[in-house]
């Protein structure tokens, strides 16, 4: 038996993803987002999270998936890694589950078009359900954003 890990489960398209619960500060409904000019396309802008200005990125855009218009189920998951606080727009966030770290396998090269370095691994939940665990520090890697900006600019 490995360690128990509590994760928040959220959906992007048909896939289910997981983020460790201790990295998540809060889950919010979509609120009006203020656009910040001259930033990468997946950076949607900033929101007012109870008096703190928090940047919001579209996780679909971050992973080069096609962006969709938000629905009633869309949520903003605000995560805090090191001293960076960022909100992720996801299609739905609906569950908190316990998984055993032993069930997490190393990710294959490409999962659903997402580069392996953004992933921590894939957890098998049984009944054929797979949970893609995100590697947050890579997802929030700023160096890459700068490269993206330079490419776009």
């Amino acid at each position: 038996m490995g360690e128990e890990l509590k994760v928040i489960v959220f959906a992007l398209g048909n896939e289910e993803y997981g983020i460790e619960v201790d990295k998540v500060r809060t889950i919010e409904r979509l609120s009006p987002i203020t656009r910040v000019p001259k930033t990468a396309a997946f950076i949607k802008g900033v929101i007012n999270l109870r008096g703190v200005v928090v940047p919001v990125i579209d996780l679909r855009g971050r992973f080069n998936l096609t962006e969709t218009t938000p629905t009633e189920n869309s949520r903003i998951i605000v995560v805090a890694v090191a001293d960076i606080e960022v909100g992720f727009i996801v299609d739905a966030a609906n569950d908190v589950i316990d998984i055993d770290t032993d069930t997490i396998d190393l990710p294959p090269e490409i999962v659903g078009g997402i580069k392996a370095k953004y992933l921590r691994g894939i957890a098998k939940l049984g009944e054929g359900r797979l949970l893609i665990m995100l590697n947050l520090s890579e997802v929030l890697n700023k160096n890459e954003i700068i490269q993206v900006e330079q490419l776009e600019g």
Partner: protein, 697 residues
Amino acid sequence: MDMNAYLSMFIDESNDHLQALNENLLRLESEPEELSIVQDIFRSAHTLKGMSATMGFEDLAALTHEMENVLDLVRNSKLKMDSFIFDTLFKGLDALEAMVQDIVGGGTGKADVTSIVASLQVILKSDYSAEKAPEAPTVAASSSGAATSSASGAMLLDEFQSSILLQSVESGHNVFHIQISIRENCLLKAVRAYMVFDLLERNGEVIKSDPSVQDIEQEKFDFTFTVFTICRLGQEDLQTQLLNISEIDAAVVTLLDAESLAVLSQSNAAAAVEVETPTQAAVLPAQSATKEVTPREVSPSKAAAPAAQAAPANVSRTIRVDIERLDTLMNLFSELLIDRVRLEQLSSEIKRNDLTETVEHMTRVSSDLQSIVLKLRMVPVDSVFNRFPRMIRDLAKSLDKKIDLVITGADTELDRTVIDEIGDPLVHLLRNSVDHGIETQEERIAAGKSETGTIHLRAFHSGNHVFIEVEEDGRGIHHERVLKTAIKNGVVTEEQAKLLSPDEINMLIFAAGFSTADKISDISGRGVGLDVVRSKITSLGGNVTIDSAFGRGTKFSVQLPLTLSIISAMLIKLGSEKYAIPLTSIVETGIIRKEQILHVHGNQMIEFRNVIIPLVSLSKVLESPDFNENEEQETEIVVVRKGEKWAAVMVDEFIGQSEIVLKTLGKYLTNVEAVSGATILGDGYVALIIDPNALIK
């Protein structure tokens, strides 16, 4: 005892004491006859020593101890200060500072101080030997009487001490002889003793103690010690307070008058025991044997003696607060501010009288609260200025120049965050003034000036800004030399140079990689200083200008915002989006018609107050999705400035002026072009704050 809990307090207080030592030594250097300054210095040094010994920083305590010995001679007029002593003491201070810094950085505070200690001891010996002879009899007298008198707590005063006590008695202060007994099972008696001394020093001055303070600090005493003190408390008060210190078994407080003092100072062991005087029922002998607490009667006239005069300095009633807590308070308060705006909106919609009244009252209270919260973060610039006199002294000495530093407005207050950042730029400016500005003594005399140069360091409020000026009466900026260097270093081309106004030439010395000093000195560096100064000040939302007259001097004027957390701003609309422009950089607002726009080299310009200024399309800069000023016949403009340069910025609509709370965009979004931050509007939406400096090229 876990010392870590006290470490930050120790560091804070040591820094305070080191600063006090520095200041007082400088003062003493200018008025060497003023013995009261020596007393102040001695007190600071003494407290510092006590603290570092308690905290276990041996080297720190040892060095302070040596310095204290020298100071002790000085304050007892046994030693005259000269420049060698000053230099050695300053060197000692530097070493102490380095050690404290080491402790701050997590080190052990150990340092090799043998050379300084050696020179301190040289000072000590050369003059001490001369004084040794007359002192010997006193020592002998007291030791001969020690057998009987030390047990009873009596001790002898030397001439100096008794004359101080006598003067205090004559001027109506309370002079006490105190005998303290510490409980025998007490583990940290030095600490208890320290608390006693602390209490006494807070309320007056300790003149003599037996055993000596050094011995007491190193626990070289039994469970009793005696102290002579001048105190502004009454006898009973003092006794109660002393007994309030835990593990103090007994405190025998005896009020002394002129007669008893005379007896004590007669170097007569037998007489010393007999300090009983008619005015009081207090008796000293045999107290330690019985260890009982005897309340003393005080003659009414003495008890009522004015106490305040004896106070060495006003004890300022302050507390130290972690800056993070203040930041949290500030954050919470700004949330409250946002709610307030929202409430005001709601109440104006609902239009119920009692609601409106309550909201109005809340508005008043919260604006009072706002000014207090902002004031909490304000720190006098003195906390930056206070290290400059010493720095200028050392610089002037090393360059063999004579310089007076005149500081005015040191009590001007600035936001803590600005204070933390402004130190380095000011150091650069001052060093620059000393090195490049003020001439050598010979040059000054040749130029018909007094051989001592003067640097004025001024701070003052003006509007929403604080100005800090560094002005010297030195050689001023030599325009031709500046231009030659600028051209040589590729800062400007020769053609450009011809077109520059005198002010623009002055500003060239802030350009990167520029240095006019013919010789590179280790004082003001290699010309990397001034451009760093300017960028630092600009990043603080400030501005720096130069005013110089060749041959007569130069003035650097630094303009800084009062606070970085709440600013006045103009809210504007750009289609569906709202933005804030800081009011400080707005010159004017207006409306222009399409046909007024001029086209120069493909750039849009307008004529504004008889000057042609560039016209900036905010919607293009910010890539606005739903506003394009080209579709309008008339456009609102905001004229902004950056230093002397102006530009007109086209906007969609003005919303109005508002106090906004500055927020950062967070660590994830840094260096967003043309945006300096964000704020939360009354409706809860986030509005971006435009950085006008980025709009003006």
